[in-house]
């Protein structure tokens, strides 16, 4: 893929942090560990890079230490560049304190956008996990002369379970007639994937008008406000996507990677998902290990039984221990003869020998970072 200097990518690293408040207690949405070796921000970043977009700004809010640590200079995404590359945009609000919504955040970092030579801007969040080539959407955006193109996917929505979901109502020509935020409905709908394409000039106009009116929400003030008269088009992304909007959906999304079709949709050989290099040794399986249907990252040492689970980098599983249906984040040390099922352990948890912990599929037990049991 050659470089597309005409498009700037912007990622909101903290959007919808509060929907997974336990896991984001010490980190942003973007730095939530996912899928054995990734952080959620790896997906939008890799989508940009694989689409030739090599100027990417990351808009942070609070608790962004882990995000800084993860991203570094952007080298692991090939974004340590003289032209463009990765730029971290720390929080700042002209109104004092923290910014209030997407529009406020954009106003505060506008000088970064202004300095970009790009004509188009693609906005993305970290709470929707998918792999997408953005080029066909960019081509459609230009051809259709849309003001705004919303990227959407068809999927099941349940208002009792899902949060942060905008449902799009489209006509036959894919023009967006209405945007419903968390409507009281259940079923298959066109869901906005929190990615949109807009020209820099129009975005500038919208951002500065909203600042003068003290309005902050892009969804409410722009997408839902028919008085604006913008031509808003939909672009359907026909591949799998997963929305992380609760601890339960985070748990389910990780476990969905045990399905080979889901892995094929997310990990395409021509569109690799980049992440920080860990320099871990390959996984070592002991003499009495038994593994079934699990995703296991480098650096693990496994002497027990692991089934239907996701193990992140450097997890140690002792002899006689049985782990089922669980998500074990980086660096966990699990002793001998433990029985664990339906649990999520955050980073660097230690579970001493002979412990029994059982959660349930709809309510996994969560053990916080550095927890000792």
């Amino acid at each position: 893929m050659s470089v597309n200097y005409n498009v700037l990518g912007l990622i909101f690293a903290s959007m919808h942090d509060t929907s997974v408040s336990e896991i984001t207690e010490h980190r942003t949405m973007g730095s939530i560990p996912f899928g054995g070796r990734y952080r959620l921000i790896d997906f939008p970043l890799s989508n940009f890079v694989n689409s030739g977009i090599s100027s990417v700004g990351v808009i942070t809010k609070a608790n962004y230490g882990s995000l800084l640590d993860h991203l570094g200079s952007g080298r692991d995404w090939d974004l340590a560049r003289k032209n463009g590359g990765l730029c971290l945009l720390p929080p700042y609000s002209q109104n004092g304190g923290m910014y209030k919504g997407r529009l406020d955040a954009l106003a505060n970092i506008w000088s970064y956008v202004e300095h970009s030579k790009a004509q188009y801007v693609v906005l993305a969040n970290c709470d929707v996990v998918t792999t997408i080539d953005l080029n066909p959407a960019l081509i459609q955006h230009k051809k259709s002369e849309a003001d705004i193109t919303l990227i959407y996917g068809r999927g099941y929505y349940d208002d009792e379970k899902n949060k942060n979901t905008a449902i799009l109502q489209l006509d036959e020509e894919n023009i967006v007639n209405d945007v419903l935020l968390n409507p009281r409905m259940k079923g298959e709908f066109n869901q906005w994937l929190e990615m949109l394409i807009i020209s820099k000039d129009l975005l500038k106009q919208i951002v500065f008008e909203s600042v003068s009116k003290s309005t902050f929400s892009f969804t409410r003030e722009v997408l839902q406000n028919k008085e604006c008269g913008y031509k808003i088009m939909g672009y359907e992304h026909k591949e799998m996507f997963m929305r992380i909007d609760s601890k339960e959906s985070y748990f389910a999304a990780n476990k969905r990677l045990l399905d080979s079709d889901a892995r094929k949709a997310l990990f395409k050989p021509k569109m690799p998902v980049y992440t920080k290099v860990g320099d871990n040794a390959p996984v070592k399986y002991g003499l009495e290990s038994s593994i079934k249907n699990s995703l296991i990252a480098d650096g693990c040492i496994i002497e027990g039984t692991v089934e239907n689970s996701i193990l992140f980098r450097g997890v140690k599983v002792g002899k006689g221990t049985v782990i089922k249906d669980s998500v074990i984040m980086q660096g966990a040390v699990i002793g001998n003869n433990c029985k664990l099922s339906e649990i999520i352990t955050d980073k660097n948890v230690e579970i001493r020998s002979d412990k029994i912990l059982n959660g349930s599929e709809t309510y996994p037990v969560y053990i916080k970072k550095n927890g000792r049991i």
Partner: protein, 408 residues
């Protein structure tokens, strides 16, 4: 403007590795895969970076494409430096003409200008085909403490094996009094590991002398050579220079043959192995591939093995090392084997006591290798080897000691 460096390392990576045959047809020996995600050269490069040596010249000659691409700018080893860093040094043409490297000493001789730029006190000379973890800075300290001109790292080998190595004979202060290459009747069991620390000014002098002497001999039609062990060390001993042996304790493995490469990988599965790749205080770095974590399927049976990221395993694996992106289908059996990156072992295939090269395909029904217990005459047993990018069809078998380089 180059900043002065106390130590510069020179890594001899030109080796063809002809005894590794099928695995080095298109790659230099230091680029041969090892241990699930490494290549041999990762060990000296990581040792350098962990020892605080940040300036490394890598001398390449044979099939350098893969090796050059792998080393790149040296970033995976933290050797992408503004001052120093890793530099690949191939043979080149000068006004005096072009010449290949004519031996290990000549390779360094031809790159003396690279070393002079950094004005070092000491030069560490390394090979690219051994597996070991070693703090070279301690060896340099030992060299300084002894006011040595050259320090050679040695390892104590069993007497029965001593005649395979260059053997050092030392006095009670570790001062080397004699050096014999592959002696029939060894007088000591201290084998040279091919790791040298030289005081640069001394090395420079001896490199120039050896070059001139050898060229003079060549003109007269006499036998000549330009090697470290044979020429430089021997000349320094002759001149009563201070040569010391630095005794290394720990895991050190020469992987010069297919059998020893297989053994070195199997060593990693031993619980008592003194080479811990999971040790975070002395990491072995490598260039990573961007692949997802490994997936182990519902039908998999995995015991006592090492498996790298990106692999998909649904078969039966015992005592084996699988590299990145390997596929082992349901019903395939892999025992006591090494499966290199991207290889596919199809359902119904059996691979035992074998090395399967990168991106090769073993079709269902094929049988590679055999357990030594099933071979009557022990001399007939050895590792079966399938080279890189080779397909073995389902009706074929590869016998012990057999080496396959083309599709069968």
């Amino acid at each position: 403007m180059y900043t002065k460096k106390k130590v510069v390392a020179m890594l001899l990576a030109g080796g063809q590795g002809s005894r590794l045959y099928a695995l080095t047809k298109n790659v230099a020996k230091p680029a041969v895969p090892y241990g699930g995600k490494y290549r041999l050269i990762d060990f000296p490069l990581s040792n350098c970076t962990n020892s605080g040596i940040d300036t490394v010249g890598v001398l390449t000659q044979y099939q350098p494409l893969v090796l050059n691409e792998y080393i790149g700018n040296g970033q995976p080893w933290d050797l992408d430096k503004m001052n120093g860093g890793v530099h690949v040094l191939p043979p080149y043409e000068s006004q005096a003409g072009a010449s290949w490297y004519e031996g290990t000493a000549n390779a360094i001789y031809q790159n003396m200008n690279f070393i002079r730029r950094y004005d070092p006190e000491y030069v560490v000379v390394l090979g690219g085909d051994h597996i070991y973890k070693m703090d070279y800075s301690k060896m340099v300290d030992f060299h300084i403490a002894n006011e040595a001109d050259c320090t050679i790292s040695v390892i104590d080998v069993p007497l029965a094996e001593a005649s395979r190595f260059g053997i050092m004979i030392c006095d009670e202060n570790n001062k080397v009094t004699d050096f014999v290459e592959k002696p029939k009747e060894p007088k000591s069991t201290l084998a040279s590991m091919g790791i040298y620390v030289f005081s640069w000014k001394k090395l420079e002098k001896y490199l120039i002398e050896n070059e001139n002497d050898a060229n003079a001999k060549r003109e007269k039609g006499e036998a000549w050579s330009k090697d470290f062990g044979k020429d430089i060390i021997t000349s320094m001993l002759r001149d009563n220079q201070r040569l010391f042996a630095y005794e290394f304790e720990g895991y050190w493995k020469d992987v010069g043959t297919l059998d020893s490469l297989w053994e070195a990988n199997m060593d990693l599965l031993s619980p008592s192995l003194p080479l811990d790749l999971h040790d975070k205080s002395w990491r072995i770095y490598s260039r990573s591939s961007y692949v997802p974590p490994q997936y182990i399927g519902n039908n998999a049976k995995i015991e006592n093995s090492m498996i790298a990221e990106g692999s998909v395993v649904d078969g039966s694996i015992d005592f084996s090392v699988l590299f990145a992106g390997v596929t082992v289908e349901e019903g395939a059996v892999v025992n006591y084997s090494i499966i290199m990156p991207g290889a596919v072992i199809k359902s119904g295939a059996v691979v035992e006591y074998a090395i399967i090269g990168s991106d090769s395909v073993i079709e269902g029904g094929a049988h590679i290798g055999r357990s030594p217990e099933l071979v009557e005459n022990k001399d007939d047993w050895g590792i079966a080897v399938v080279g890189h990018n080779v397909t073995v069809s389902g009706d074929k078998s590869v016998e012990p000691k057999q080496i396959i380089g083309e599709n069968i």
